[in-house]
């Protein structure tokens, strides 16, 4: 899992990509990833072109390459899984670098690594150019149930607080010379988790009461209008449009 600081994910800047309304970016991203997943893995050049497209977006949004690479660590477990595929799959065998592997498995591994990498890069670009709060507003405009959006908003608001609480507990444990080393220390860690749950739940009750006293009626007021203009929708549509051109161009 990535680091817990959601505000560290956002890269403040003022570029056309940052200014796009969040719902445009969300739909554009989902369409792009769906097109990538639908692409035949044997069309290697198509994936290279998709990568170029994302590179153009990254340059336009001024997202540094180093940040992209650092956040791509999340896909490592599945890359390992993919690396095992050529040896586990059946089918025609071939020899690469003196190792016998399945040709089909090799293609499958490529398929997973290529598509997962493109998906991860696209998601990182979205998170780096959109503030979490605005992204939730965009989700609400896309008619996601507002209760679900509210739960997500509360989660993002308080996840830092809860993580801090967990950090303080760890420091308290360690200052008493406790370090979880083997399975016999599990009860101590679990007790911390239990205490963390009680504190989170009680904080939730307090937050609810505080909100009631400020006139909360079950819905949050929308104070920021994130309506997208036709020009912005058109700009956001260029990414999936370019991707689908590549997909169809390959079929002809």
């Amino acid at each position: 899992m990535a680091a817990g600081q959601s505000h560290h994910l956002y890269l403040h800047a003022d570029t056309p990509v940052h200014r796009l309304p969040p719902q445009c970016k969300l739909l554009s991203l989902i369409a792009f990833v769906l097109i990538v997943v639908a692409t035949d893995p044997e069309r290697f050049w198509a994936f290279a072109l998709y990568l170029v497209l994302l590179g153009v977006v990254a340059v336009a949004a001024r997202v540094p390459l180093r940040l992209l690479l650092r956040r791509m660590v999340v896909e490592v477990p599945f890359v390992i899984f993919a690396a095992a595929l050529p040896f586990l799959s059946e089918g025609e065998r071939m020899t690469v670098l003196g190792l016998s592997m399945s040709a089909d498995g090799l293609l499958d591994a490529w398929n997973i690594v290529a598509k997962a990498t493109l998906g991860v890069i696209a998601s990182i670009l979205l998170a780096a150019t959109t503030e979490p709060r605005t992204l939730l507003l965009g989700a609400q405009r896309l008619r996601l149930p507002h209760l679900l959006v509210q739960i997500a908003a509360f989660m993002l608001r308080y996840v830092e607080v809860i993580l801090d609480e967990m950090r303080r507990m760890r420091i308290a444990r360690e200052s008493r010379a406790f370090v979880a080393r083997d399975i016999r220390h599990l009860p101590v860690v679990a007790r911390s988790a239990g205490a963390l749950f009680i504190r989170s739940y009680e904080r939730g009750e307090r937050v609810h009461l505080a909100m009631l006293s400020r006139g909360y009626t079950g819905t949050m007021p929308v104070i920021q209008d994130v309506r997208g203009s036709a020009a912005q929708w058109a700009l956001a549509a260029t990414l999936p449009a370019a991707a689908i051109t590549i997909l169809i161009g390959g079929l002809l």
Binding site: V37, V159, E165
Partner: protein
């Protein structure tokens, strides 16, 4: 456990997306009944807790550590409906903000980690809870078993989905073996830490453990003269235990849709085992199954000419038949249990607060 893009085909992503969306929508409605306007802040904070606790590494031994998935834990602590919502929100936030798990695989991830882990974990928790003594120890034992089994079950569900709509031709038995072994061990850790966490919360705030609500008796007051009076139960303080029927109906619908829709698309490719058989050249020697002449032989239906349609129908019917058999067994067991105990416990009606 977060599946990235590229693992599943587009039809599979869309099918699981539809199942996840309807499951979450259903839980949203039921959870709103449970928590009314406290819903958003409380579920949000619990989701933040699940997110944090997934980062809490616990030692497994030999220098390795694992982390909690938290589905069963959330279900036992805050109830299955709210639990599904919390996990779904956590998974979505991880996909959108942390690029952890693909966007097209969001449906798969919500199905596996939200629906399967929470529902299987909570279902087993309730079932085991009926067998063990009705006290704190019983609740802790039931949480251990529920959480422990929820992990390999979720891995099994992944294997099933992967065999049907995965992008690779790998033999499902290999995947099952590889996933199963690891996840049984992970499940042991999950079970232990879930049980210990539940027992901690039970010791401090037993009223917060949704799965142990039946243990809380009415509060008693000691009057000035020293006599004990049982207090009137607070309005809405005791939430009724969720009924099982909605789960059964929802689960059945999801299973039928998945089996029918997905096998409709998957039937274009031969299934993994048949493929192995073909590769090793023993398909031609294969004896026909004793049921070879039955209506469902080779998962297609006689009299339906379109091959893919018939395979899809057979998938849906297969699920229906296994469910019918399961339901018949459960029903007869329940009848016997009811006759023995005489009176069935009556769940208190739901009274929303304020």
């Amino acid at each position: 456990m977060h599946v990235p893009d590229g693992f599943f085909t587009v039809p599979m992503s869309l099918a699981t997306g539809a199942v996840a969306a309807s499951g979450v929508a259903y839980c949203l409605r039921r959870a709103r009944d449970e928590l009314d306007d406290r819903m958003a802040p409380l579920a949000g904070l619990v989701a933040a807790f699940v997110f944090a606790v997934q980062m809490l590494n616990f030692p497994v031994g030999a220098g390795t550590s694992g982390h909690l998935l938290g589905g069963a834990l959330a279900a036992i602590l805050v109830g299955p409906y709210t639990g599904v919502l919390c996990i779904a929100v956590v998974v979505t936030v991880q996909a959108l903000f942390f690029a952890d798990g693909g966007l097209t695989a969001l449906g798969v991830n919500i199905c596996l980690m939200g629906l399967v882990t929470v529902l299987a974990g909570y279902g087993i928790f309730r079932a085991v809870g009926k067998l063990v003594p009705r006290n704190r120890t019983g609740v802790v034992i039931a949480s251990f078993v529920g959480a422990m089994l929820s992990v390999p079950l979720s891995a099994l569900a992944f294997t099933g989905l992967y065999a049907i709509g995965g992008t690779s031709s790998i033999d499902p038995v290999t995947v099952a073996a590889a996933m199963g072994g690891v996840h049984v061990v992970i499940g042991l850790g999950e079970g232990a830490i879930t049980a210990l966490t539940v027992s901690t919360v039970l010791a401090v705030r037993p009223d917060l453990v949704y799965g142990a609500r039946s243990l809380i008796g009415p509060s008693t007051l000691r009057t000035a003269s020293g006599e004990l009076v049982s207090a009137r139960p607070a309005e809405g303080a005791h939430r009724a235990a969720p009924r099982l029927r909605p789960f059964l109906v929802g689960g059945t619908a999801a299973a039928v849709v998945l089996a029918g829709l997905v096998s409709f698309y998957a039937s274009a490719n031969p299934d993994g085992l048949e493929r192995v058989a073909a590769d090793f050249g023993f398909l031609s020697q294969a004896q026909d199954h004793p049921l070879g002449n039955s209506a469902f032989a080779d998962y297609s239906i006689k009299g339906v000419d379109d091959e893919r349609l018939s395979v899809g129908l057979a998938g849906a019917l297969g699920v229906g038949i296994s469910l019918a058999v399961g339901a018949a067994v459960t029903w007869s067991l329940r009848r016997r249990a009811r006759r023995r105990s005489g009176a069935a416990t009556i769940a208190e009606p739901l009274t929303p607060e304020s």
